[in-house]
């Protein structure tokens, strides 16, 4: 990447913005367009851009393949935990109303965590798939 200073420098400016935008799409998803899936894809694409610049080895020091697998499982577990929490608090599976003192706040917290789980899983699965192809040899 030493030969392409323009690409390198623009990407270095863009990557933090991409990651920040992903977080915006993630947490603003219940007010505007967006949500966990879109945010996850944007977040992963930011990291993939980093891989294109610096290669897979350097990126793996930040997020290893093992970590992406762990995060993928974690995201699904967060989703399920919200569902089960609804059951434990006296509602039905995935019932958000019971999660907080009043139903509106409950709905808010519920969808926030659900989408967080979705976002984490989507981002890490996309990265894992990318790693699998990037590290494929022979």
């Amino acid at each position: 990447m030493k030969k392409n200073p323009i690409l390198r420098e623009t990407s270095h400016v863009l990557i933090p913005v991409i990651l920040l935008f992903a977080l915006y799409v993630q947490f603003h998803g219940d007010y505007g367009p967006g949500g966990g899936f879109q945010a996850g894809v944007i977040f992963a694409s930011g990291i993939i851009l980093y891989v294109l610049l610096h290669g897979i080895k350097k990126t793996e020091k930040i997020i290893s393949l093992q970590t992406t697998k762990l995060l993928a499982a974690l995201g699904l577990l967060i989703y399920c935990a919200v569902g089960v929490a609804g059951m434990l608090l006296g509602g039905l599976f995935l019932e958000y109303n019971v999660l907080a003192a009043d139903p509106v706040a409950g709905q808010h917290w519920g969808i926030l965590f659900i989408e967080l789980g979705v976002g984490i899983t989507v981002a890490s699965v996309i990265l894992a798939v990318f790693y699998a192809f990037a590290k494929f040899e022979k």
């Binding site: 993928a72 974690l74 089960v84 059951m87 039905l92 599976f93 995935l94 019932e95």
Partner: protein, 490 residues
Amino acid sequence: MIVSAHLPVIQVIIPLIAAPVCSLLPKSRIAWIFTSLISVATFLVSIAITLQVNTIGLLSYNMGNWPAPWGISYYIDHLSALLLVLISAIACITLISSRALLEQEIPAHKRSLFYTAFLLCMTGLLGIVATGDAFNVFVFLEISSLSAYALIAMGRDRKALMAAYQYLIMGTIGATFILIGIGLLYMQTGTLNMLDLHQRISTIASFRSVHAAFAFFTVGIFLKLALFPLHQWLPNAYTYAPSAVSIFLAATATKVALYLLYRVFYTLFGFEFSFEVLHLSSILMPLSIIAVIVSSLVAIFQTDVKRMLAYSSLGQIAYMTLGISLQTQAGLIASIIHLFNHAFIKGALFMCLACLASSIKTTQCQGLAGVGRSHPWVCAAFVLGGLALIGIPPTSGFISKWYLVSAIFESSSWWLAIIVMFTSLLAVVYVWRVVEQMYFREPTSELVSLHATPRLLLAATWLMIFLTVYFGIDNRYPVSMASAAVESLL
């Protein structure tokens, strides 16, 4: 929290939550213990659900407490309960007995992921049965199919990859067709809840798009069901999959597709629309007849016993669809009873082959010469399973055939009975070929047991054989469940 009120959803989320946890477990032995415990828990839940259904009747559960036509609802009636018990029982038996098989067939670093995929496949199959929402059915169908492709691709033979790929293509086409069907219905009615859809469809039954949806559903389900001529993916998938996967998929996957057929054509579209307005039988009956004859004939000429059993499965599935195509209550009961019985029969037979595969490393018919002497217990189990496949008392196969033939006579199409008898004779031929190799041939010199037969697997095989014989003598459970199911379907 009252657990009993949440059983329908607990049934599905136990394996769903266990799957990601399992993928993180480092040692395959721990993963095996964990998965086995989960499968036992799932089985116990399915028993509890059956008890509840028998006392209360239809169970329903609204996800997130959104009321029925708007939210996703789970409905569990007698038919669903029967299938839930079937899937979780087979999964439980397969998982507990599969450790030795996996140690031989799956590389160590993939075993945790194997169990993860297995749990996801279970989740998908259980979900299809539990849910009452048309789109949710598609989601679970994809979960079960995608994990099944991964499971099949883990087979040791390189052809397993090709088989999985073939299944992936065909399975995806099938699922897409089902999705298009759901989409068309949603476009017309604005609802996805199956009971709500049923009511709305009856008012717009003459619409062309409803007919198109019916056609897409039919082809999609026939593909998943592997009904002739859409069966090409099945023999390879069953033959090259790891042994444990063959056992589980042969016993459950096509059965769940058949369940989907009952649900879509009876509950969603309704009997009148499916059979009287659109004459489903006039396509289902010829295809079933061709399937049962052709696949039994093809089974006779297979050199690999696993492949032979796969073709035999195609024929047995056709018996079930034949029962449906009679358009009578008795035919439907026969179909459901055969679905239940055949799951245990085929599971047991694939388990016998798994025993042999792990011990003498071959499932080729030639390679089985004289194994009756070295592996008497396995071969005895195979003979009993084979008898059940043919339909000889006192096995459950006889009960299936009895109900089927009675239903055929009741609808006074005696020539169908002749076809059933004739194909049973074909089953005698293909089972006998293997039995002859096992018992009446001299063992070839190269036949040496590389490993002892895994004891747990042999015990599981005999448990399945015991169940096959048990349900042949005391068939109250499947018959009462099937009769109650038919009451609600028709």
